[in-house]
């Protein structure tokens, strides 16, 4: 893991900016209900209000407080993004590593299923699944994870394969060590450095995908989220009036902040740990 901590130390300005952005998002996600003055789902004033001392970002078309929605919206995005990333990486890394150390048939079978998943068109599948299976967060997390693991699997497999070809590993193999045993002993060293880039990639993709689902109206109507804010902004034509400034811009900026933060951290760490990822980018 020393390679990983070394890379973190050399994060560079871009990486730190990214980390700060993510930190803010996580902090708001955790503290949201404490910080938000209202619930975001109940009517607290006249609709279409401009920002004022009570409603810092004004109110939406029903009269719900937009600032509260913004704060509370951090949680679903962060939770979905991180959950998907964790699930997808767990499945993907396991499948990829296992495929790399198994015989040709197992490897081929596993990789072929990954290819099938990769060939599926993401957004349409997610949309249709969400349309039919309902708006719950669990459904969204599940569906997005089931689509995201495949990319991770391929990357991890390539990485493990190339690690297996290193001289000291070849020596161990020649001495009779089984590949699976080698993997078990060295997996953290091989896969560890990949974790951060894989995680940020998966999380960023998941957050945008989830926001898109909410934007299309497939999200949970009882839970404020950034995508849902934009859904209503779109449906009520908020961007055709002044209201875009306080209704449409903040949630978009929030989403941008989180995904850009993740991307920056990914780039900063990737620069250090290069080869396997650069090959598959």
């Amino acid at each position: 893991m020393s390679r990983l901590s070394g890379a973190v130390r050399r994060l560079g300005p871009l990486g730190w900016v990214g980390l700060a952005l993510i930190g803010v998002a996580v902090a708001v996600a955790v503290a949201g209900p404490l910080l938000a003055p209202f619930s975001g789902t109940e009517r607290v004033g006249p609709p279409f209000q401009r920002p004022n001392s009570v409603n810092w970002l004004g109110t939406d078309d029903v009269g719900r407080d937009l600032w509260s929605q913004l704060l509370l919206g951090a949680r679903p995005s962060v939770v979905v993004g991180f959950s998907v990333a964790i699930i997808a990486i767990t499945i993907g890394a396991t499948v990829g590593a296992y495929a790399a150390v198994s015989g040709r048939r197992t490897d081929a079978a596993l990789m072929r299923s990954a290819d099938v998943v990769l060939t599926l068109p993401f957004l349409p599948v997610v949309v249709i699944a969400a349309a039919f299976l309902g708006p719950g967060m669990g459904v969204r997390v599940l569906v997005i994870s089931l689509l995201t693991w495949a990319g991770t699997a391929r990357i991890v497999r390539v990485s493990v394969l190339s690690a297996m070809q290193r001289p000291h590993v070849e020596v161990a193999l020649a001495a009779g060590a089984s590949r699976r045993w080698l993997l078990a002993r060295h997996s953290s060293f091989i896969v560890g450095p990949l974790l951060v880039p894989l995680f940020v990639r998966a999380a960023a993709a998941a957050i945008v995908l989830d926001a898109s689902l909410n934007f299309l109206g497939l999200g949970d109507p009882t839970q404020p989220s950034w995508g849902t804010m934009l859904y209503w902004a779109n449906v009520r034509g908020a961007f055709l009036t002044d209201a875009w400034q306080w209704w449409a811009m903040p949630p978009g900026l929030a989403l941008l902040m989180v995904t850009a933060g993740l991307a920056l951290v990914g780039i900063a760490v990737e620069e250090q740990i290069n080869p396997a990822l650069a090959a598959t980018r």
Binding site: V116, P121, L133, S212, F215, A248, G252, L255, I267, A279
Partner: protein, 345 residues
Amino acid sequence: MTPGSDSLPAPAPAGAGRQRRGLRGLAVQYLIVLAVILTLNFLLPRALPGGPLGALGGEDVGELTAEQRAQILAEYGLDQPIGVQFATYLRDLARGDLGTSFINGASVRSLIAEALPWTLLLVGTALVCTALIGLVLGAWAGSRRARGGGTPVVVGVLVLDAMPSFWLGMMLIVVFAVNLGWFPTFGAQPIGTDATGLAAIPGILHHLSLPALTLVLVGLGQIVLVVRSSMVSVLGSDYLEHARARGFSERRLLFGHALRNAALPVYTILLIELGFLVGGALVVETVFAYPGLGRLTFSAVQSQDYPVMQGTFLVLSLSVLLANLVADLTYPLIDPRVRTGAGAT
């Protein structure tokens, strides 16, 4: 990327890395995906909490008597065993029958046929523009990186990439359509226009600009990064050093050699990007009320018009599938290394 890293293979689509499997393996993979898509499309309405009746819309399902329920089920063939239903579904598909819309009774096929050309226009334009701009920007950033520059482009492109496309679209509308008034805010053609044929083109282009711009800006990131990294690796490679030593001018090196090799992965990225563009168009069309497949899907989702939803899902998925297939089939033609198996993972 360090010099001499030309031993790293360029990014390839899902199929190219396993060229040893040959066409047969590829065909199997795509058939499996097709089967998954068709099955999803078939099963999902039947997975609704209200059962397939919920997907039929119309009556308040809970109020139907058992008799009426049985009648409706029989009418739609839903009382048949699932195998028979699936066979009927496939047969209807083969005949091109995609059902009728709940909302206006129009045939789903005609709705899609009307919307598809607009989506194709939007996606096609965006693709071409993304490719051209991406190549130029990426090549520029790549040639600068050797001297330690080009970072602003990368950061800028990354920010664009991270932006949710629907939000970017909204912001573009606000700035260019509402405030500056340079572009219209919705639709594909000016309202109430009679223009047809060539006369309609300016209006169409005008309405096309902002949606296409949104798609281009969001998709630019990937292309620029890929071109840049492949540019860097080519510029640092041995044969280029050799050419440089032989006295070729920098410009000739850049355009004659580097760009051509850097363009290699762009081709596949483009075709794969087509898949994402189709999905992205879904969202962008919704924002701009552009009458393409995406918008059709959105309004179908809103009004719970399941036949239309299934129809558009099918068409969208099949187009992405087709694009990926074309990418996989044509990549070996372009990259000789893949053909001979050299440098593959």
